[in-house]
């Protein structure tokens, strides 16, 4: 087994009296989609925020490719190859779609202290940005102001910006939230094709997407890892069923899962 790109060890975080992350350990490897599921309030977004650096854990450590990044700031982690998408779409609404992605590419430059040339004529940014839009199926929307995109397209742009920073690790916080079935299918296909190049952490409520994509699943309940293992093992886990999945949610999942096998 390859060394993990992200190695989370014994992470702990509490807010006041509430433990949001309770001794969580998990690993992300290149070529794997590791899904984190759990009921609302289980601490999924809190976990992502600690990985991305917006929140500092109370204890525990986070290693990126073997080096400790637990105390690195958000931007430093992003530069080290950690990209995230936000649960609530976080794009630059007054920029065009292409300008949004080009800005993400610009983030990979050593610095942005260039004061005179028109940034929109910099092909080092435009070229890679167009390539990412092509991959996301937004190629025709480059000149559209981001504010005029449909919700689903904005979610795609959110993902495009994460990809455009040329990361090694993708932290995806509900990338399919609010998407229609067709758009969801596109994103599932895209994530499936992406995973060979990245280590992906996927937080998602859509169980059919999770079971279609995930190599490993970690189940969080009240901040604690209830179970962690391959998708089939999690699906069969009685404790998980009782605590989280529930019969009414499992049945459609079975159908969707059966379609794949």
């Amino acid at each position: 087994m390859t060394d993990p790109l992200i190695d989370v060890r014994d992470l702990e975080k509490s807010f006041g009296g509430i433990t949001a992350t309770d001794h969580v350990s998990l690993a992300l490897r290149r070529g794997e989609i590791h899904a984190v599921i759990g009921p609302n309030g289980a601490g999924k977004t809190t976990l992502i925020n600690q990985l991305s650096g917006e929140l500092r854990p109370d204890s525990g450590s986070i290693l990126l490719a073997g080096s400790d990044i637990t105390h690195h700031r958000v931007a430093a982690r992003a530069r080290a190859g950690l990209a995230r998408s936000f649960q609530i779409t976080s794009i630059f609404l007054d920029f065009t779609v292409l300008d949004n992605v080009a800005l993400a590419v610009q983030a990979t430059l050593p610095h942005s202290f260039r004061f005179w040339r028109d940034v929109r004529k910099d092909e080092r940014l435009r070229g890679p940005a167009r390539a990412v839009l092509q991959r996301l199926g937004l190629a025709g929307r480059g000149d559209t102001p981001a504010a005029e995109l449909s919700h689903g397209e904005q979610r795609q742009l959110e993902l495009a910006m994460a990809l455009a920073t040329n990361p090694r690790v993708l932290l995806l916080d509900e990338p399919m939230a609010g998407m229609g079935p067709e758009e969801s299918r596109q994103i599932i296909a895209l994530l499936g094709s992406l995973k060979t190049d990245y280590a992906i952490l996927l937080v998602e409520h859509d169980m059919s997407a999770v079971f279609a994509l995930a190599d490993l699943i970690t189940v969080l309940v009240e901040g604690r890892v209830l179970a962690c293992g391959p998708a089939e093992e999690i699906r069969a886990n009685e404790e998980v069923k009782r605590a989280y999945l529930g019969e009414e949610e499992l049945s459609p999942v079975r159908k969707a899962g059966n379609g794949h096998h």
Partner: protein
């Protein structure tokens, strides 16, 4: 001659408004202390002239250097805050300098200081010639507009604009915006310091009023009137503000009673200011 004096004043304050617009309109940094740079520029010229140092080659670089230094130090602290806190901190720093100038008895204190000789440039240009001085100011304004326009579309400018609307995303992309915002703050402060240098030469006089917080407020109004974050907007805003002041103050000293409601209406309905009005009417 009266019009030339008015136009020169408009051009100089337009430079200040253009500089404020760069951080306020593009960068979202609402500084309520921007007039402090008028004061730093102006007092540098005035104090040096008082001591017989009239060469612009000495006065101007020192004035710009002090403005940049003040912006660097206060900006480094202020930019750790946002919104209303940023506004209060910039105001506080400006007030500190304001009271410093009030206390400068050696240089006139409250009463100010007359400048008997304008900056000299070894015979290259005579600033006491009012027409020549006007052209110098106008050329500097054009240069400032050009610089802000180019910057706003550069790699640097796009970072400044993006940090205004969504700093959290910028961090997540891997861009620490602090140093870019600080650089923008220093550039704007230096540019406004230059306006202060010109203003002192224009009025041949400096006093603490130059950098009072109401002057900072005037600059914000000029920028808002003209249209936030547009290249030429602040120039139009300055023209509108000063012409309105000139026209209405002839009728009543309470001319701002007219301006006030006008600003409220614009804040409510036409955020784009004059530039917004123009593009809006074009679209129809």
């Amino acid at each position: 001659m009266f019009l030339l004096t008015l136009f020169t004043r408009i051009v100089i304050l337009a430079i200040a408004a253009v500089s404020l617009n760069f951080i306020l309109g593009y960068g979202g940094m609402i500084s309520l202390g921007h007039a402090v740079y008028l004061g730093i520029g102006g007092y540098t010229v005035g104090i040096l002239a008082h001591h017989g140092i009239n060469s612009g080659f000495v006065q101007w670089p020192i004035a710009l250097g002090l403005s940049a230094l003040f912006a660097l130090v206060t900006g480094a602290l202020s930019l750790r805050t946002r919104g209303v806190y940023f506004l209060m901190i910039t105001l506080s720093f400006a007030q500190m300098v304001y009271f410093l100038t009030v206390g400068l008895d050696k240089y006139g204190g409250d009463d100010g200081l007359t400048i008997y000789k304008r900056s000299t440039f070894a015979g290259l240009v005579d600033l006491s010639d009012k027409v020549a001085f006007y052209y110098v100011c106008f050329a500097i304004l054009l240069a400032c507009v050009l610089i802000v326009w180019r910057m706003s579309q550069s790699h640097f400018g796009v970072v400044i604009r993006a940090a205004k609307s969504n700093d959290r995303r910028m961090q997540a992309l891997g861009i620490s915006t602090y140093r870019y915002r600080l650089a923008a703050y220093v550039i704007a402060g230096t540019m406004c310091g230059l306006a202060g240098v010109l203003l002192a030469n224009h009025t041949d006089f400096i006093n603490p009023e130059m950098l009072s917080w109401t002057r900072s407020g005037d600059l914000i109004i000029m920028v808002l009137l003209g249209g936030l974050g547009t290249v030429i907007g602040p120039v139009g805003g300055t023209v509108a503000y000063l012409v309105l002041e000139e026209a209405l103050s002839g009728i009543t000293e309470h001319w701002q009673i007219v301006l006030g409601p006008f600003l409220v209406l614009m804040a409510l309905y036409r955020r784009g200011g004059i530039a917004g009005l123009l593009s809006w009417s074009r679209r129809d």
